[in-house]
Symmetry: C2
């Protein structure tokens, strides 16, 4: 086979390829990131690249406009290399920078310290604990064995049920005890119902004990480094889940992982991401990896499967069966996670295929499972989850919203990263008055919150948008025009954007968007009606998830994404997944409550509920076909003399 | 360095050596066994070999007679090779054949089936159990995860407390369940307080589940293969512990194992021995290694340390501290034991440095820990152990008898293997009337039981032996003569032996022998007096151990090794170590009782008891200075008109 050389700009990376390869495969070899929401199937149209020079064969696609084709755009996954080439990855196809830091979460939503220890509902009792032991040296009157001497002292200090020590550690014990004159530090790790003496170190190392709480998200991975002695969070980092290159959403990744080899590839991706985060955390906090003795991960069921290497294939097919809801606690090294070589790795248990440990963590953090009155929790994202209940009962459902809130299926949509418009306001007549761009500079697209603002402002400022989401053709604004696929609204003209192209929303974008918001709202409504309740009876509505964090409640009510309740009832819990994992890392009691939440929660499959399917269309209005359900929206629109 | 070639006969093995090497080291390289009780220190004189040709330098030694030196004998450990050589290993320096088979134990002492199951004290509940599961396939109404579905069905069938499954197994679960249409067999293994799902196999393999019970002795290793479904012992094998080449007794081996590398070498020896036994067992019983799912080992504390690789050095030094009394249950493969790759390995817990799991197993099998009346258990060997107690209390001590019963320290002593005189009778005037040789043919030495018979018969037939063990110089027999080291008695003249040399007992041999029997008896007496009891109050005296098995009670009482109790009170329990391990392998309840015995038993250190040290010499008589303690002996001697 001839060999070709492929250079990627602006990365500057070059790779040699042989055999028939797509540009996407070459990029993968070169370790250059290209968006691929569909996993390289030519479906999503997000892997647009520009062929600067070289010979290629590109399959025809509806995802490229005539202008783009003229400018050299191809879909990387459907473009084959026939010779050496130079390929440019344009900004909209790249993953730029790290996700928003979650530091602000802690400030905005309070830290875990409130939940654990004095004043909080959970007793401080970390899953990993270092105990300094000054053992009495052996004598003829007391010549119990080394291991049993250590156990005896541990039991004297703490009430410990079952105990075990690995053979590797035990083999070193005799020498270690004597070299350190019987003064050692034992690290005790929780392993299911038993306590393991994970490690014994010479002297007093009890001051240095850290754990990592990880939120393993489909899109982002967030890790917090926690001082297990003080409960302080000493560092926080976030990164994108690099599995994204094999598929944007859960379903695409499950489909990709159809062999052990490909499953292992996905596993290595997220393990590397977590290791990078941990390396960054210990660097930032000046902590030794040796002193990180426990990692607790929360994530949706599929992400946990992919992390520990469990077959996920049955998750996406009826009757939707995961391999395990609660994988065993293992040595972190067994999965490839680099902390203390003998440190442990646990996962917050899941409820069902589409309700994972991240939701369990959310519920724990919200406090709804400790309250008499029922509350609702909404995790808004591509895979939305909604939980309803109180301390006695919990039910949940999932709502497949689609990727619109993360920028998917929206022509100028993007994630909430640098260049995204996140806030937007209009004046009457739908004139865009102002917008704010993440990271500053010229905008390159619209993220979910920007899109919600846009639609809400279009509703408020009348005339350009029907209640069913149709753009109004005869609108006065010059921003409304006929595009390739029908009507479209120019949000920012090309002259002011970072891509040199107009940022537009099309009629199709709006339909996708309305389907997403409608799926979430309708699922919440079905769940609450199923149990004979009304939104007004809820004590609180907790909003969690990466997207939820940046939601403006009033705008979200305006478009009919959130129910029309008093604003003060909405409580943002931030990244409940990492906060919940941290709470459980710091308190065995909290972990047990998490386990109780997971086993108590009942999953309702809405897709088989006739009411859900029949009445779904009523939510495909702005805000709803039944405006009586949104009295505050009606009031505002009436005040603005807009017909409702 | 020049290279030499060393050939060993009669093995016929040849080895190339370079550098300065002893004959012992060359033999080790050639994998030719040479006795070395002291671990190659030139102390024991048991590694006599004959240089047939070649250049060597031998250090002077008192262990060789003038005749032997003339005939080319050297000590292998103190003879250096200066050139190529041919070395003969004479019969007395070889380890011949396998130890006596233990099949007869089962016949003579009853099998474990009496203890486990119907009619026995312990419920049948093997440490490893296979459970056939026909799981309901998942449906939308029942889409619990694979792992939890398996656990649910297991819990439905059995009351199981905690459960865990390894990640390696869990990773294969989804495919395995579906390939086998939800019909699988789970192997459940006891692991401390928890149950592990050790393995899941497709289809019904529940008919095939085996365990191995192993007695890891200092000298011999005995293994029984047990069908865990029927409790039948399907095969038995025994071999010598090949650690013997690095030291005959426990102390020599502990001293040898003073580095991790040498400890690992000892560990590999016994692991290989056990693997050889298991390979032989599964071959004999036509069982697949895959179907052997548990191994339970009983042994003295040092042997268990050496098996699993724990540092034994503190065991031999005051205050006598082992590394662990109860090593954790581990995967057998972690220690190198070859059964099912995921099968487990457990050890019967020890009581103290010199009272191991073998004694715990003995006590369990004897039943003394279930009885109201006190009994005594005596394990007679190089390291004797004595236990006293009933269902409420148990005390034990160890008695360092020395190696006389195993042939050590006795000029013509040998183990109870082929060529050993095991029974002997005399007529009046100390004429040897008859003897029986293990394996038939000409005798090469005397084993312990032969030695006891010899001494008892010398006592009975008067005149040649004083009560203090001194040979009588003026005895009429022509068998009494002056040897190199004083008086000696010729048991079998050279013309009738297998070695072509006289089999003699010397004055020094008799002193060693009396010290050994005195140590055992005196320890038993001290223990019983310490608790205000008398031998006559004991319900039973249980005799265990490889040597004990072949003891003639009347002869042992005659010489003052065993107390003078009615013969029917002595109960032989055979190899209680392997029988006890088997009982615990078949019954979790029995294992728990074993653990209770180990933790309840109090170890008394006799060497610090003034009474023990002061009165020890009174036991250095035949049978005792105080003949009142041995009324039946007095009666018999008087009847024979022998002055007592």
């Amino acid at each position: 086979m001839p060999k070709f050389s492929v250079q990627f700009v602006p990365d500057g990376k070059t790779v040699e390829v042989d055999g028939p390869k797509t540009v996407m495969e070459a990029a993968e070899l070169a370790d250059v990131y290209v968006n691929a929401l569909c996993g390289g199937e030519g479906m999503c149209g997000r892997c647009k690249v520009i062929i600067r020079s070289g010979e290629v064969r590109a399959e025809p696609t509806a995802h490229l406009s005539r202008e783009e084709i003229r400018d050299g755009y191809v879909l990387a996954c459907k473009c084959y290399l026939d010779g050496s080439a130079v390929v440019e990855i344009p900004p909209e196809s790249r993953l730029e920078g790290a996700p928003r830091l979650t530091d602000e979460d802690a400030l905005r939503f309070g830290s875990t310290r409130v939940l654990v220890g004095e004043g909080g509902p959970y007793a401080r009792d970390p899953l990993s604990r270092k105990v300094l032991l000054s053992l009495p040296g052996p004598s003829l009157d007391d010549n119990v064995a080394d291991q049993e001497r250590l156990y005896r002292e541990l039991r004297r200090q703490r009430d410990i049920p079952v105990m075990q020590m690995g053979l590797v550690q035990l083999k070193q014990l005799a020498e270690l005890l004597r070299e350190n004159e019987w003064r050692v530090t034992a690290t005790l790790g929780q392993r299911g119902g038993t306590i393991e003496v994970v490690e014994v170190e010479g002297g007093d190392t009890s001051e240095r004990n850290y754990g990592v709480a990880v939120d393993v998200g489909t899109t982002t991975v967030v890790a917090h480094l926690v001082d297990l002695n003080t409960s302080e969070t000493v560092a926080r980092q976030a990164t994108y889940n690099s599995q994204i290159q094999y598929g944007e959403d859960i379903i695409a990744r499950i489909m990709f992982a159809n062999t052990r080899e490909k499953l292992d590839r996905l596993s290595s991706c997220v393990v590397r991401d977590i290791n990078d985060l941990i390396a960054g955390l210990v660097g930032a906090a000046d902590v030794s990896l040796q002193d990180v003795t426990y990692a607790l991960c929360a994530g949706n069921t599929t992400m946990i499967h992919l992390l520990v290497g469990l077959t996920p294939s049955a998750i996406r097919l009826e009757p939707y069966v995961p391999t395990a809801l609660a994988p065993p606690v293992v040595r972190a090294a067994e999965v490839g996670i680099r902390i203390n070589p003998r440190g442990l790795l646990g996962c917050v248990p899941s409820v069902a295929c589409y309700v994972g440990g991240d939701v369990v963590a959310d519920v724990l953090v919200s406090g709804m499972a400790r309250s008499e009155k029922p509350s609702m929790l909404m995790d808004i994202g591509t895979n939305g989850e909604i939980v309803l209940g109180n301390k006695d009962w919990l039910v949940c459902c999932s709502a497949s919203a689609g990727p619109a809130f993360e920028g998917g299926g929206i022509s100028c949509g993007m994630r909430a990263t640098r260049g995204a418009i996140e806030r937007l306001s209009m004046t009457k007549g739908c004139q865009v008055a102002s917008y704010s761009v993440i990271g500053g500079g010229r905008p390159t697209g619209l993220c979910g919150s920007g899109l919600i603002d846009l639609v809400a402002e279009m509703m408020r400022n009348g005339g350009c948008l029907e209640r069913n989401g149709a753009l109004t053709a005869d609108h006065e604004s010059q921003r409304m025009r006929d595009g390739e696929d029908g009507l479209e609204f120019v949000v920012v003209p090309a002259s002011q954007t970072g891509t040199g192209k107009d940022i537009v929303v099309t009629q199709a974008d709006l339909q996708n968007f309305i389907r997403s918001k409608g799926a979430i709202y309708h699922a919440a409504e079905c769940l609450i009606e199923h149990f004979g309740l009304e939104f007004g009876e809820l004590e609180n509505i907790y909003i969690s998830g990466g997207f939820g964090n940046y939601l403006d409640v009033r705008e979200a009510v305006m478009i009919g994404l959130l129910p029309d309740c008093p604003v003060e009832r909405f409580v943002f819990i931030g990244n409940g997944s990492v906060q919940g994992a941290k709470t459980m890392l710091l308190s065995r009691q909290a972990l047990e409550e998490g386990e109780a939440i997971a086993s108590k929660m009942t999953y309702i499959e809405l897709s088989t509920d006739p009411k859900f399917m029949n009445e779904y269309t009523s939510a495909l209005f702005l805000p709803h076909t039944d405006i009586e359900k949104f009295p505050s929206v009606r009031l505002e629109l009436r005040r603005r003399h807009i017909e409702v």
